[in-house]
Symmetry: C2
Subunit: 333 residues, 2 copies
DNA sequence: GTGAAAGCGCTAACAA
DNA sequence: TTGTTAGCGCTTTCAC
């Protein structure tokens, strides 16, 4: 910058102004400085800028398992919005280990990132296991799932609605005996779709029997196992609501392998609408989550929080929608 | 830090040393300083550290489309290795637009990241369209695909082998009439699996006719379309090699929908081994890419380059392996 | 509209 | 082994 200043015959202050607040510089001077910047290929040292201004223009996004394809669209939404505002994404994978969470939280408290986008189920244990919980509220933090008794700005999916949509669809088709394969119930997102589903059934006077409520770690292989379990039952359900598509296709695969017809013998409704859902045979009926929009909205709130703008609403809820395809149909007569 | 120093009755230099090079501090002093650091909850300001040391300990990873689930495991491999070395991941999505590439490249030249991991097909156009190509070589840059006539440290998948594995498997099954659905042939990774496949066939005295070589943008929907095209042909192939699993499941879906049996009427071999491949019905035979290992290896080389260590080999090639499942079988008699 | 100068928090060279 | 001190490159008051 000093070199540019010298060549342009101005002070470094003027160069700095030309670059960051061009309006404060006389047009003529501005032009001269800018042309020399271009000529010399000068780029400001972002480390110095960040240090001086105390802002890194980067957002840390924490997920529990980056391997989960579910996050791909979510990241895209964040990335697009962030880039449009001049922010970069730092991505961290906690693997649900407190130690990893801690590493990433420390980056915040040590100014490596300006804010944290928390898309992990549950509370950030790694952080305030050792510290005071209230510290959390001082950090620019936006949650992407509800977090019990912690009043954080939140952008979440309306999972109650998601569960309800699945239930109503299956009820409409005439089903009366259901199974629900859900994730760990202490996760807010899981709990809500669970409740939404059950509530809708209850309103129709139906309850899912305990042996047909199957809480597992979600995933393809776990889905296979859950399907086997279901097949072992005497009185099978005619429809299953599965808490994500990965698990649903594992189940679907097992059902078909064991000679069942879907939806003839059993209807399957997934959750997420992953790209492969529509390429299954039969095509998977599922609850579609607008993941990209979710990411963008979360990022928008994140930046608002970082920049201290006042937020209209501290809690945004994004509605999923039902995608009816071929894996659900009326029960056998 | 000054506060810690004061309380501990030492100079800031000693605090700094206690934190970064504990061996240079007397055990007794070290203990005292550290206990006060803990007590006060002091965290060093990483912006200042980065600024002063001129290193950000962050790695920029550029992909063409973060939405592609293919990258998930790749990121995981990078993240794990990076974190173990105290680096963070910056993730950028170029959407194959020169402007976006440029944004991210600028972050490097302006010290926002220490190095760039380039997992985009083709050369970084956005960067040296305007500048001199040789600049590229000054940046700590590791490519994850071969890049024509640019001698960059590279960690790539052995796609020649991948293509060959698919070909040999299908030849072994007795196939003689093939189709190949490939990505854009100007992409090195695509070209190589294309060549590997064709070379193996040629060695068996077989050639893929032009009308059965179908270069498209890869993806589920494009796979559906390619399948329709194939079905319209008079003299159908008995086997298809498809350049990724997403495209393969799109084709599979269409084949089944149109009443073909797979592999009875046509065998399908994919590429990647995405998690869903094993949950298709029939389960998808595919060429498995060890994506996590790939990411870790790439990250390892990246850090070696950043830290100026000498590298044993500037070009690492990772072998894929064939996963034989149910979508491939002998051709009809 | 521009320049001089202080100083952000830290590290490292050098001195003691 | 520890302390003193210069200075990393920039932004921003304040004075002109």
């Amino acid at each position: 910058m000093r070199d540019v200043a010298r060549v342009a015959g101005v002070s470094v202050a003027t160069v700095s102004r030309a670059l960051s607040r061009p309006d404060d510089v006389k047009a003529e001077t501005l032009e001269r400085v800018l042309s020399i910047v271009k000529e010399t290929g000068y780029r400001s040292n972002q480390m110095a800028v960040q240090f001086r201004t105390g802002t890194s223009r980067s957002i840390m996004v924490l997920v529990s398992d980056i391997t989960n394809a579910f996050y791909a669209e979510f990241f895209k939404g964040i990335e697009q919005y962030a880039r449009s505002k001049g922010y970069v994404l730092l991505i961290g994978d906690t693997s649900e280990e407190a130690a990893s969470e801690r590493v990433y939280f420390d980056m915040l408290t040590s100014n490596k990132a300006d804010g944290l986008l928390w898309n992990v189920d549950g509370i950030p244990t790694g952080y305030f296991q050792a510290d005071d919980r209230s510290d959390l509220l001082d950090i620019p933090l936006v949650a992407c799932n509800g977090i019990d008794d912690l009043d954080l700005p939140t952008v979440r999916i309306d999972n109650d609605l998601g569960g309800r949509l699945a239930a109503e669809h299956l009820l409409d088709l005439g089903h009366r005996r259901f199974a629900q394969v859900c994730g760990p119930l202490h996760h807010d997102s899981v709990k809500r779709r669970f409740d939404g589903f059950n509530l809708a059934l209850r309103q129709a006077g139906i309850q899912v029997p305990d042996e047909l409520t199957i809480p597992i770690k979600l995933g393809i292989d776990q889905g296979r196992r859950a399907a086997e379990d279901l097949l072992g039952l005497a009185n099978r359900p005619t429809a299953v609501f599965v808490h994500n598509d990965a698990t649903a296709i594992g189940m679907l695969h097992t059902f078909l392998k064991r000679g069942l017809s879907v939806p003839g013998d059993i209807s399957v409704v997934g959750y997420d609408d992953m790209p492969y859902a529509s390429a299954m045979t039969p095509e998977l009926t599922t609850v579609r989550l607008p993941r990209r929009r979710w990411g963008a909205a979360a990022c928008e709130m994140m930046i608002a929080v970082i920049e201290g703008k006042d937020i209209e609403s501290r809690e945004i809820s994004i509605a999923p929608e039902l995608k009816v395809r071929d894996s659900s149909g009326p029960p056998k007569a």
